[in-house]
Symmetry: C2
Subunit: 355 residues, 2 copies
């Protein structure tokens, strides 16, 4: 508390990101990072931008990230006016709260979801209602039918990993034609259907994506929104009233290069999906109940072992998973998919602990 704080600050309950342990070789399965490096083209592009003496760094980056937006537009078959780039999808979501979700009626999102959503709502004074997921952690789109100010839904959902088919997302869009419907697709590339393909059909649809997961660029902070040009213009107006240059020069060229290497991206996703399926089977063999996942993590609980001591026991072996002390999910662990070796280390440790 400080007498110099605005009223907003006193009200905030900031988001707490997953731990970044200061260890040499932790088995780090707690922040949904990709276990594989980014495309070698990313490295080439950064080196090219740096040149001999890094002289380009003295100049501001393109405030509109035009080349990046064009590349990504082309990748998704969109027009550049349908693409917004930000400093990670967290910044994109923050701007979406200010630009689109601050409305008279409360917005809706699931009770179990990305725990940053209620934090944004507090920061921007956005009223919201949470909608309980079903017992099996599935979203029932009928629960979003009555009047609301907007809908925010991750697909696949986090931390559950469960995906909704595109047909269900379209039901949601048709049921709520007068409010913004934001689909947060941070994990979509690991097995869910993207709503990017229907951006042109629904003027109320905004799809948010990131390079942090499937493109192995969490360290570079680049995220996107895709939607009708009017929605994108709303985000741009907020961005240009906040920070003209959110993406630095190296982040812009890195992200462009990543989109230019489709083969690397697809192979990297396929490896993660294969590891996820193997890990799921192994966890089930150890007695875990695993929520069907379309993401690069699994959400699992063991009927005979409390989640908190399990996480603590893993931590002692320098294996980090994420445990949320939140209603309905405090018996679950969210486990990011690591390399095959990391997954094996986890399974060995869990077998040991469970014994």
């Amino acid at each position: 508390m400080s007498r110099f704080w605005s009223d907003i600050v006193n009200d905030l309950t900031p988001y707490v990101p997953g731990e970044q342990p200061a260890l040499t070789h932790p088995v780090k399965l707690n922040t949904n990072e990709n276990p594989y490096p980014p495309s070698p083209r990313v490295l080439d592009a950064i080196r090219r931008e740096l040149g001999e003496d890094g002289a380009s760094l003295r100049k501001y980056p393109d405030p509109t990230a035009r080349a990046l937006c064009e590349t990504v537009a082309k990748h998704h078959g969109l027009r550049v006016e349908q693409v917004f780039a930000g400093n990670g999808s967290d910044e994109v979501l923050a701007h979406a709260f200010a630009a689109l979700l601050k409305r008279r009626e409360p917005i809706r999102f699931p009770d179990i979801t990305y725990s940053f959503y209620p934090v944004y709502a507090k920061l921007y004074g956005v009223a919201h209602e949470t909608v309980p997921l079903n017992a099996d952690f599935a979203v029932d789109v009928d629960d979003y039918r009555s009047p609301n100010g907007g809908i925010l839904l991750p697909n696949p959902n986090a931390p559950t990993g469960r995906a909704l088919p595109l047909s269900e997302i379209e039901v949601l869009l048709k049921q709520n034609p007068d409010v913004p419907v934001i689909v947060d697709e941070a994990y979509v590339d690991f097995g869910a259907e993207s709503a990017v393909s229907v951006v042109g059909e629904y003027p109320n649809l905004l799809v948010v994506q990131t390079t942090s997961k499937a493109r192995s660029l969490a360290g570079m902070r680049v995220g996107f929104a895709f939607g009708d040009a009017a929605l994108i213009e709303g985000l741009t107006r907020v961005k240009d009233s906040f920070n003209s240059y959110p993406l630095d020069r190296l982040a812009q060229v890195a992200a462009v290069a990543s989109y230019e290497d489709r083969a690397w991206f697809e192979e990297s996703c396929a490896k993660v999906v294969a590891s996820r399926d193997k890990l799921t089977a192994q966890l089930e063999k150890l007695g875990f109940e695993v929520v069907p996942s379309a993401a690069n993590f699994v959400f699992a609980k063991h009927p005979a072992h409390d989640a908190a001591p399990l996480a603590a026991a893993l931590r002692k072996q320098e294996i980090f998973v994420r445990h949320f002390r939140l209603p309905r999910i405090d018996q679950h662990l969210r486990i990011s998919i690591g390399t095959p070796d990391e997954c094996d280390a986890l399974i060995r440790a869990l077998a040991d602990i469970a014994r």
Copy 2:
């Protein structure tokens, strides 16, 4: 306009940054960039972070930018709790509006100043009053004596370049002990006195700085705030409710390396100052009236030539300066200090046009 926009969006008048011309070799004196490259240590640090295969980019950066804040704290003789790092000083200022300047009484800033301030005020619904500069563009601290919600002042001011001595800043701090006083020192290293040295003495003082100008890192987007630990905590709470990871991995190591090379920094500033003094004398010889500058730009007008056609004529020769169509300053040009060659090219062109 869109029916999906929040009321905020309709009200905004976004900031317009200086043009980034798509030419091979423009004489670019319009966005106050440093004409010299960053320290070679910056390049080394980025290359080290990239390593052989860029594998570190797959992992999130340190959300607290701890190593960077420690380095900068040491540089300024502060404790790490007195340092906040953001995605450029524009983002730092935005968070300061939300965390500290959103108060009941209107805040104050000069009528002629960084034109982003009224934009932030609109975005965050912060009431403000502008205080006219004197006829010679000087700030009179007595004008900030009556009750207000907070004060925001660039030192040196932009786009005038005029600096206020630290003793005057301290008068301001003593006159307004119950509200935040924010000193925006984007250009301080080119000849003004920094208020960082008195951060420990005034719990209401926040000093904002950037690596974009004196440290030649405009392309990397790193800015800071320095102040009492309680003010910094207010900013951190807002930041952690907006985007956990505003600074990417390469930006963090680049900024650390820049602060580790004091000699490069001092030499680069000295060269810019020498060029500024020479350019000022040459402009005066051509009949320009030049405001005394402590920044890396000069603010000048010619009694016999309108500023807009002058800027247009320079543009035809691929020389870019900044002209603001704003009250009281629409006859001035803001000219960034370039290399000696760029300054010579400007003087030749102006001599030609003025003839």
